[in-house]
Amino acid sequence: MLRKEDDRYMRGRGRFVADIRLPGMQDVAFVRSPLAHARILSIKIPPTLRDRVMIAADLEGVRPIRADTTLPGFKSSTQSALADDKVRHVGELVAMCIAPTRAEAEDIAAEIEIEFEELPAVVDMLQGRQPGAALLHEPWGDNLFLTSVTDVSNGTPPANAAYEVTRELRTARQVMSPMEGRGVVAEWDSRVEQLVVHTATQQPHIVRSGLAECLGIDEGQVRVIAPDVGGGFGYKGILLPEEVALGFATRKLGVPLRWIEDRRENLVAGADCREHHYLLTAYADANGRLLGLDCEASVDCGAYSAYPFSACLEGGQIGSLLPGLYDFPHYRCRVHSVATNKPPILPYRGVARTGACFAIEVTLDALAREIGIEPVALRMNSLVQPEQMPFDNIAKRHFDSGNYPEALRRAIEAIDLDGVRTRQKTGEPDGRRIGLGFALYTEQAGHGTSVYSAWGIPMVPGHEQCQARFTPDGGLEIRIGAHSHGQGLETTLSQVAHQILGVPHDRIKVLHGDTAISPYSTGTWGSRCMIMSGGAVAKACEALAGRLKHIGAKLLQTDAANVRLEGGAVVGPTSRIEVAEIARTWYRRPQDLPADVDPRGLEVTEGYKAERDTGTFSYAAHACLLAVDPVTGEVELLDYVIVEDGGVLVNPMIVDGQIQGGTAQGIGTALYEEMRYDERGQPLASTLSDYLLPGPTEVPAARILHMETPSPYTRFGQKGIGEGGAIAPPAAITNAINDALAPLGAELLMSPITPRRIVEAIAAAQHTQTPEAAE
């Protein structure tokens, strides 16, 4: 089924935040900190501009953003909308400037002088853990938001370990880079005494709660509208200090305000995901079976705990993600969530899984090389078997269903492992080296209350609701609190409703993204929408079906037990009545209804929660064939196979789109994307010429093969699949590069793998292997 939302986008008629015009609207430009860590000594504003500039002192009564968890030992941070005392990362907001156009607002920003006392910056997470490191939040005494420990061991390495390898791995800091940045248009509606905030968010209801808390007003006084949103990927799953600042200022000044994030702001102040460090030891027995893992990991969390997911969203999950799909008896993992002078860490597609998958899968390949067996053999020996499902892994994750070895087998066959090994023996005519790499992961999705309540962040998902109603002319309106920004929910939820009610697709309208017209929802994140919103839509439509049958039976003058809903009509023993006719009668001809008709009518709100809310586990095996040019370090992806099991697929085209798109982002992580910082915390990219996003020539068309093992816990057996594509590519590509370079003795353990890193790794390996040659 083709997407309902496509046409408006293809005609330039989408409506994104930057497209909204309100009468009298003024533009905002922010003055941002040029320094990573400094005390603000003074802010000089030319007197003639004073009424067009707001600084922290002007934000009377505004509370800082605070996202705590109840995890024992967690240390709390507070983030002011505009920095008051200290700035803790480059790009932090210091002042907001208001003018009729953005250009003029930037002119004002250039007139503001800030005097700073620069403080030593914590730029690296390992440096931040050292005793004596500069402190971001002085009262803490160190820079640790949290240290999380998982220990399933008897305190010593596995006794029967015949093989052991240790690797130090890193993933670079990234910028999620949706093509549309963030943006806010805010106005105070004096008629209903309500702050109306149009904002590019994945979570309008969560933004409303956060805004009300920070501004000290009732939630009823805040309406958040997420219009068309140009990609999220987690970047838009946060309460913004900009939203707080504009929300306050628009009410204070009585004019609508607009702030549209530009690419420079996005890169400099939004570099906020993925940066992990691992020291990982893996053990295997003499038969080449994984015995255990010992890991010390760090997550570079940036300066503040972001609302609502907190600073520990990655660090808190690594311990349970690292074991992957493997069954082994020994496991120890300690993870440090470290505060640094960088923008706060946010969820990015694949949240924590991408780093954990990279660490375990790359280390498994190293272990296989140490043992001298095919990396896939080590995996086959160690995967959870289908007959073990459902399976609680060593870190207590509950895998719902699946056949992991079969996925790997299909990937091996599709990529032609044997053929590649033969080809490698003959060598390439152009001098390049080819390599093959595999990686597997599970993607937990739609996990709910039981998982998040233990974490204790400001947002715990519970029931997901849907409001569904018929319009008087027989159309169907579906209202959900989650948001669609590329996932195609307007289509897939329509499919769910159509399946149950038989209403034609073009008569179904899915409305979302506005707190005023939709039920509460924690929003779109964690690949949860098809499970949670899909479940809620089904429940609501089923309830509506009951109402239709009730009214239809009355109109057919029969008992509700004698009718069925079929082909868009209520069908009784002798006659039928169209759904549209039932709606028309209900709303416009009540005189035709009997007195005992159920007065609740054709509008329902129903909720959904999975019977078991530990989530679904879709999974995939990725296999990558590539060629490395050892002279220039250039990498070409020759073939990319994905065997994915997403349970029952509602819309296969959209599922494939999510997988292919996620894979492109994973390729970015693997080979291109890196936000570097200098030693004082200056970010070293501020354009997309410095921060490289993969383009059409960098992303091959993946070959996607499907398995369909239904989840036992969801409405249709569907599983969340939105993030998986972005999880495995860094591991699969790194394994392929290491496979290609193994004969040269070179091994790459950091993403992204740049040409320079490849050339230098080869040179270092040659230096190690032939020390005399280097003399």
Binding site: T101, A103, E106, A110, V631, T632, Y672, L692, P755, A763
Partner: protein, 275 residues
Amino acid sequence: MKSAAFDYVRPRSVAEACDLLAENADAKVVAGGQSLGPMLNLRLAQPPLLIDITRIAELGRIAETDGAVTIGATVTHAAIEDQKIGAPANGFLARVASGIAYRAVRTRGTIGGSLVHADPAADWVSSLTALGAEILVVGPGGTPRRVSVADFVRGAMDVAIEHDEIVTGVHVPRLSATARCGYHKICRKTGEFAEAIGVAVFDPDRGLCRVVAGAGGGRPVVIDGARGTDRLLATFDDPRSGRECLDEAGVTGDDYQMQIHVAAVQRAVQELRGR
């Protein structure tokens, strides 16, 4: 970010443009604006006045003679890519043009603008140096002077031009029909800036054999072979002798940079030889 405010003027003639420059010390000439535009939008460049030379008819023209093709300064990369102008180097210019940034940039970016910017990573800086092209510069006096691209580009972003002069065109000598060229650019992704550029030109009839290593951060390094032989090219059959050759010629860089500079030249030579 939006550009800081500037004034804008659109002269009709080269003489007017030069006069405007002479009167306005901080004015900037703009043609397609594909390099200046981003700098303005980032407010890293804040000239008070932009002098748009794209409405000066003579700068967008081509003049062909038996020995050379003169390409006007505001001729776009796309016009060259689409082979709308004479081909002094057997299609080589079109091939180079097609690799500059992206199509929507090439439709406005100009050959003269690129040369005046003298970005070491720019394709024209290296390729036109290899072809022995000359730049035509006109000042308030009106008399054009000709300076070789190699002398014009003094270093990164540094060209031999006075503030009140403008580049009016590029004089590209014709290669003979038997000449062959090779070009190889190493960059992180399609359309991005080069980390190394290799150019190789061999024109037996004119006795020319030359390689250029570009995108090294400064001006491109030119190595001329002995007249009438292509022995120079063989130097790059082996990476070690290639590296020695570039070292001697003054190409600098760390091991990675030197390795890709050698590879770029080596691959340009291979392309020239048709393999």
